[in-house]
């Protein structure tokens, strides 16, 4: 009896692993194809049957792409925007979250409802008035437009507030009695204690800004302002038959994000879980 149920459990486990491995392979397949194709010549990309191991492995695409595109400019612009936006979002987000989570004053809850309410409003429904407004300020076709667009999201306030609420109020009380100002409490107690949440928000904001396609598409027209997403899209249009080269560009656009994600994935997972559970 015991032997049989043991065998059943082992059997179920094997089935589970087979299912999961098949799913993982399916999910990763596009990335495998992307990398493999970037190491081939053009003619080798579409073959019947698919050649999953490039022969020979060709690194030439990774040399050529820098000359054939403005990849350096795009990467530089994107990195600049992502860093600036992330810095502002984390700073103002955690600052505002302290007000929402640890202080009581009239108007606080209404304001927070306004933040939450906009989560249900898609950006696509108001990007026209927003564009007219930002153009009216003469900021169309500048990095300012993207920075303004991304830096003051409700998401950062929301995430940091959820985290601050898990820190006991008694800690703030004690600090107040010891004579620390509210700003002092934020800087010396809340910020150091919320490093994991700050890490989550930093990574998520950075990745979102890096991957943003629509914002730059609408606002950044000059080639020297292009981000990697816009650049890659135009590159695809320009070399539409150079499949291997396009895949090389795609690999390069995903690579920095993949590295960041693999290094800090714990924070991604925790950050998303925080916003979800009490949502």
């Amino acid at each position: 009896m015991a032997v049989r149920s043991n065998a059943r459990a082992t059997g179920a486990r094997v089935v589970l692993y087979v299912v999961l491995c098949a799913a993982a392979a399916g999910i990763l397949l596009p990335f495998a194809w992307m990398i493999v194709s970037s190491l081939k010549t053009n003619n080798q990309v579409f073959t019947v049957p698919v050649q999953w191991i490039p022969d020979p492995v060709l690194w030439q695409n990774y040399v050529d792409i820098w000359a054939k595109s403005d990849m350096v400019t795009w990467l530089k612009n994107t990195a600049f925007l992502a860093v600036t936006v992330t810095f502002l979002q984390v700073l103002t987000g955690s600052f505002a979250a302290y007000g929402f989570a640890k202080m009581r004053f009239p108007g606080r809850d209404v304001l927070f409802l306004v933040y939450i309410g906009t989560i249900a409003v898609p950006w696509q429904s108001y990007f026209i008035p927003q564009f007219q407004m930002i153009s009216g300020w003469g900021l169309n076709n500048t990095f300012w437009a993207i920075i303004l667009l991304q830096a003051f999201g409700a998401f950062g306030v929301f995430l940091m507030k959820q985290y601050y609420e898990s820190i006991p109020d008694s800690l703030c009380e004690a600090a107040r009695i010891d004579g620390l100002s509210e700003y002092g409490i934020w800087w010396r107690i809340m910020v150091p204690l919320s490093i994991p949440a700050i890490a989550s928000l930093t990574l998520i904001t950075f990745v979102n800004t890096w991957n943003d396609y629509l914002g730059p598409l609408i606002y950044l027209r000059d080639r020297e302002l292009w981000t990697i997403q816009i650049g890659l899209k135009s590159f695809i249009g320009q070399y539409n038959a150079e499949y291997a080269l396009i895949m090389t560009g795609s690999v390069l656009s995903v690579l920095p994000i993949a590295v960041i994600f693999l290094l800090g994935q714990r924070y991604f997972v925790e950050g998303i879980a925080t916003t979800g559970v009490k949502g």
């Binding site: 589970l16 505002a96 407004m133 002092g184 934020w186 010396r188 695809i236 998303i272």
Partner: protein, 320 residues
């Protein structure tokens, strides 16, 4: 009253920690303390709120006015009442976009919920490699739309793409044309959308599953409930808050779907994958009919709000 202004520290972004004002040791009247507290509270919120209000709230509010004008590229805007909305009634492209949006949402929402919940249930146990599989499932979500769209377009290539080569092993019949066939373009886009999003919602479900008490499962098991019965009667009811949050998020994300479609098919072939967001974009940023585009945007706005409110009320009723 005037003294409170003096009391109030210089700027919200002044060097933190350098304003050790603390609680006044003197006998401050309660009202004064309260006001002071409120002012400090506001200084925390203002830097973010100002940006948020100007960049998000103001445009949301002006949207409605612009939709009642004939605003265009020349900067002139005359009030024309409901004319834009009347025009929507006979605009075939708008109807197509509306239908396609519901098509996408109608398939993408249930599909993503089922797939991401299944993944979460499979991974919600102590097992070797759980973290690895979780990472794999989440990975597509953090990669750029442009890169994945172009890769999937190649995979979907009707003649030489790996997907049709694979399908060809099982059938000699006609294979789907995917993104170049007007009947198959939408399914192709939905497949990619689900593939990309499921890992994110899986994480939300996994977080929710942590809150399901293990004793309940144990008790149900002792009472002889099958694993399906336990899922229906223990897991699902406990998961309801998460389910609510996830469906609201997926619903909004589905109705506003845009960048994936723009890069994969540009709404084509023909108008077979044209969705509301793209129609707003085309009318506004390609044809510069800001007023008319805003009227379409108002429709999208109300769809999203309405769906959210309905789901909210449904959740409330279930809770009661």
């Amino acid at each position: 009253m005037a003294t409170t202004v003096v009391d109030h520290p210089g700027g919200p972004l002044g060097p933190p920690g350098s304003t050790p004002r603390g609680v006044p040791t003197g006998r401050a009247p309660g009202a004064r303390l309260k006001l002071r507290n409120a002012l400090i509270g506001w200084t925390f919120i203002l830097p973010n709120f100002l940006g948020f209000a100007v960049i998000t709230l103001v445009p949301v509010l002006t949207l409605f006015y612009i939709s009642l004008t004939n605003s265009n590229i020349f900067g002139t805007a005359t009030f024309i009442g409901l004319e834009n909305y009347v025009k929507l009634g006979s605009d075939k492209s708008f109807h197509t976009a509306l239908l396609n949006t519901f098509y996408y949402a109608g398939v993408h929402i249930p599909l993503t919920v089922v797939v991401s919940l299944s993944l979460a249930l499979l991974l919600n146990r102590k097992m070797r490699g759980a973290a690895f599989f979780r990472t794999v499932a989440f990975f597509p979500y953090i990669t750029s739309i442009v890169a994945i769209a172009v890769v999937w377009n190649m995979l979907f290539s009707p003649e030489f793409g790996p997907i049709n080569q694979f399908l060809g092993l099982f059938t000699d019949g006609d294979l789907p044309g995917w993104t170049v066939d007007k009947d198959w373009a939408m399914p192709a886009v939905i497949i990619v959308g689900t593939w990309r999003d499921m890992g994110y919602y899986m994480l939300l479900f996994l977080a929710g599953l942590q809150t399901v008490p293990a004793e309940l499962h144990e008790a149900a098991r002792v009472d002889g409930a099958s694993s399906w019965q336990r899922f229906l009667n223990v897991t699902l009811p406990c998961l309801r808050p998460t389910m609510f949050f996830v469906t609201v998020m997926i619903t909004i994300a589905s109705f506003k779907v845009f960048d994936l479609i723009l890069v994969m098919t540009e709404g084509g072939p023909g108008q077979s994958t044209l969705v509301l967001s793209q129609y707003i974009y085309t009318k506004g940023f390609v044809q510069f009919q800001f007023g008319y585009a805003s009227a379409v945007a108002v429709v999208l706005f109300f769809i999203c709000i309405l769906v959210t409110v309905v789901q909210f009320l449904y959740n409330k009723r279930k809770e009661a």
